[in-house]
C-alpha cells in the first residue's frame, strides 16, 4: 500500500520516540537559555562599561560567536576540545556549552541595547531622588529594560530551539534523527512515510515554538 505512510507513525513506539527526540532538543535549548539569561545580563552590563579594554574584549567575543557558524562551534567543543584536552564531554554537555556561549553573547547584546536605550536623564532623576546605584538599577532601569527584553528573550529561545537540530551532527539523537531512523527502517514497506514523519516533526516544532512566539507577541503589545 503506497498511501498509508501515516501508519508508520503509530507502529510500535515510533510517535513516542519522536517526542523523546523533541525533548532532547527542547532540553538542550531550555537549559542553555536558563543559563544564558543571567550570564547575558552580566555580559550586557559589562558591555556598557566605558573601559576600552572591556569594550574590546566583549566586542571580539560577540563578533567571534556571531561569525562562527554554530556547527563549527559544536565541532570545536565536541571533537576539538574533547580530543585535545582529553576531557570527556558528552555530546549533550558540549551542545549546552556551545549554546550557552552563543546565548550569552546574543542575550548580552540584547541587554546592552536595552540598557543604552534608557535615557540618561532617567538615571539622573533617580539619583536626584536619593537612589543609590543599586536602587536605580533595580527600581528604575531593570523594570524599563524588561519590557523590551522579555519578548526579545523569547524570540532568542525559539531561535535556539530551531538551531539545536544541529546537535545531530555531533551524534545526538534528537527529533530529526529519530525521524530519519524511522523513515529508513520503513523505506521499502512504506515509501511515503518520509512525508508523514517530516510533516509531524514540522508540527512538533511548530507546537513547541508557536506558543512561545505568541507569548512574545502578546507581551510586546501589552508593554508597548
Amino acid at each position: 500500500m503506497q498511501d498509508s505512510g501515516i501508519k508508520v507513525l503509530f507502529m510500535g513506539k515510533n510517535f513516542l520516540r519522536l517526542l523523546e527526540g523533541l525533548w532532547v532538543t527542547l532540553r538542550i535549548s531550555l537549559i542553555a537559555v536558563i543559563i544564558s539569561i543571567p550570564l547575558g545580563i552580566l555580559f550586557g552590563m559589562f558591555m556598557t562599561l566605558k573601559n576600552p579594554i572591556s569594550r574590546a574584549v566583549s566586542r571580539v567575543y560577540l563578533e567571534f560567536i556571531r561569525i562562527m557558524p554554530q556547527l563549527v562551534l559544536l565541532f570545536i567543543a565536541y571533537f576539538g576540545v574533547t580530543r585535545t584536552f582529553g576531557l570527556n564531554l558528552s555530546a549533550e554537555v558540549s551542545a549546552v556549552i556551545v549554546f550557552v556561549l552563543w546565548g550569552t553573547a546574543e542575550m548580552g547584546d540584547l541587554v546592552r541595547g536595552a540598557l543604552i536605550s534608557i535615557p540618561k536623564h532617567q538615571y539622573d532623576s533617580a539619583a536626584a531622588l536619593g537612589m543609590n546605584r543599586i536602587q536605580t538599577f533595580w527600581y528604575v532601569v531593570i523594570p524599563q529594560t524588561m519590557r523590551r527584553l522579555i519578548p526579545l528573550t523569547i524570540n532568542l529561545t525559539t531561535r535556539m530551539i530551531k538551531t539545536t537540530s544541529l546537535v545531530v551532527l555531533i551524534g545526538m539523537t534528537e527529533v530529526l534523527k529519530v525521524g530519519k531512523q524511522i523513515i529508513d527502517a520503513n523505506r521499502f514497506e512504506y515509501p511515503t512515510a518520509a512525508l508523514w514523519i517530516y510533516g509531524v516533526i514540522f508540527l512538533l516544532y511548530f507546537l513547541a515554538c508557536w506558543p512561545i512566539s505568541m507569548l512574545a507577541k502578546k507581551l510586546e503589545k501589552r508593554w508597548r
Binding site: S125, A127, A128, G130, M131, V140, P143
Partner: protein, 254 residues
C-alpha cells in the same frame, strides 16, 4: 532675607575636558530664599545646579548643605540628595509607573516610609496642583505641563529642604508654562528655599529674592531683582537683558 545659611557654594570650579565651564563660583542661599540664576545659553547654569546635588563632581571648591559637604562620590551623597529636590527641563517621569507610583517610589524605597503614608502625602500634593484625578494615569497620558507638575511633586514628596529647578518650563508649550510657574510661586510663598534657572524673565523678577547673573564661568552680578532688571551694573548683564527685549519685540511683530 537674613535667615541662616542653608546652601553654600565656595570656589566652585568645573571643567569638561579643556573647557572650564565654572571658574570659581561663590555664593550662598539662606533658608527660605529664592535665588534665580540667569545667564546666556551654555554659561554653565545647568552644570552649577548639577554640581549642587552631586550629579557632577567639581574639579575644585566645595558645596555645603547645612554645613555638610556635598561631593559626588561621597558616602552620604544619597542621604544629602534626599534633602535637595531637583526638577529638570525634560519631564523625566518613570514611563513604566503610574503617577502615584512615580511619586511614592523614592519615599518608600529610599526613605523607607510606609506606602500608605507616602500615598497620602502624594495625594494631598496632587490635589494641591489639581492633578488628583490623574493619580492612576501613566506619564504618556499627561500633557507636558501636567508631567512637569508631577515631577515637582515627586521631588516635594521627599520633603526636601531645598529645591533646584533647571529650566523646567523650557520644553513646554507656551500655554502650559503658567500652570507650572504658579506651582513654583506657591512653593516660594510657603517658604521653600529654591534655586531656579529660567529664561522666563517676568517670572524671574516676580519670584526672586535675589538674582545671580552668570557669564564666562563666573558670577557677574548678584543683586536684588528690581535692581538687576531695571538697572544692571554690568554691560554684559545689560546686553543679556537686551536680547530678551529684542526677542520680545520680534515675537510681537510676527
Amino acid at each position: 532675607m537674613n535667615g541662616e545659611i542653608q546652601l553654600q557654594v565656595s570656589g566652585l570650579v568645573k571643567r569638561f575636558g579643556e573647557e572650564t565651564v565654572l571658574n570659581g563660583i561663590d555664593f550662598c542661599v539662606r533658608k527660605g530664599e529664592v535665588v534665580v540664576v540667569l545667564g546666556p545659553s551654555g554659561c554653565g547654569k545647568s552644570t552649577l545646579l548639577r554640581c549642587m546635588n552631586g550629579l557632577e563632581s567639581p574639579d575644585a571648591g566645595s558645596i555645603f548643605l547645612d554645613g555638610e559637604a556635598i561631593s559626588a562620590g561621597g558616602k552620604n551623597i544619597a542621604q544629602l540628595r534626599q534633602k535637595i529636590g531637583m526638577v529638570f527641563q525634560s519631564y523625566d517621569l518613570f514611563p513604566n509607573k503610574n503617577i502615584i507610583d512615580n511619586i511614592t517610589l523614592a519615599p518608600v524605597k529610599v526613605q523607607k516610609r510606609s506606602k500608605k503614608e507616602a500615598e497620602e502625602q502624594a495625594e494631598k500634593l496632587l490635589k494641591r496642583v489639581g492633578l488628583w484625578e490623574k493619580r492612576k494615569a501613566y506619564p504618556r497620558e499627561l500633557s507636558g505641563g501636567q508631567k512637569q507638575r508631577v515631577a515637582i511633586i515627586r521631588a516635594l514628596c521627599m520633603n526636601p529642604e531645598v529645591m533646584l529647578f533647571d529650566e523646567v518650563t523650557a520644553a513646554l508649550d507656551p500655554e502650559m508654562v503658567r500652570e507650572v510657574l504658579d506651582v513654583m510661586i506657591e512653593l516660594a510663598n510657603q517658604g521653600m528655599t529654591m534655586v531656579i534657572v529660567t529664561h522666563e524673565m517676568q517670572f524671574a523678577r516676580a519670584i526672586a529674592d535675589r538674582v545671580i547673573f552668570l557669564d564666562g564661568g563666573s558670577i557677574v552680578e548678584d543683586s536684588k531683582p528690581d535692581e538687576f532688571f531695571t538697572n544692571p551694573k554690568t554691560k554684559r548683564a545689560k546686553d543679556f537683558l537686551q536680547t530678551f527685549a529684542y526677542e520680545k519685540r520680534r515675537t510681537n511683530i510676527n
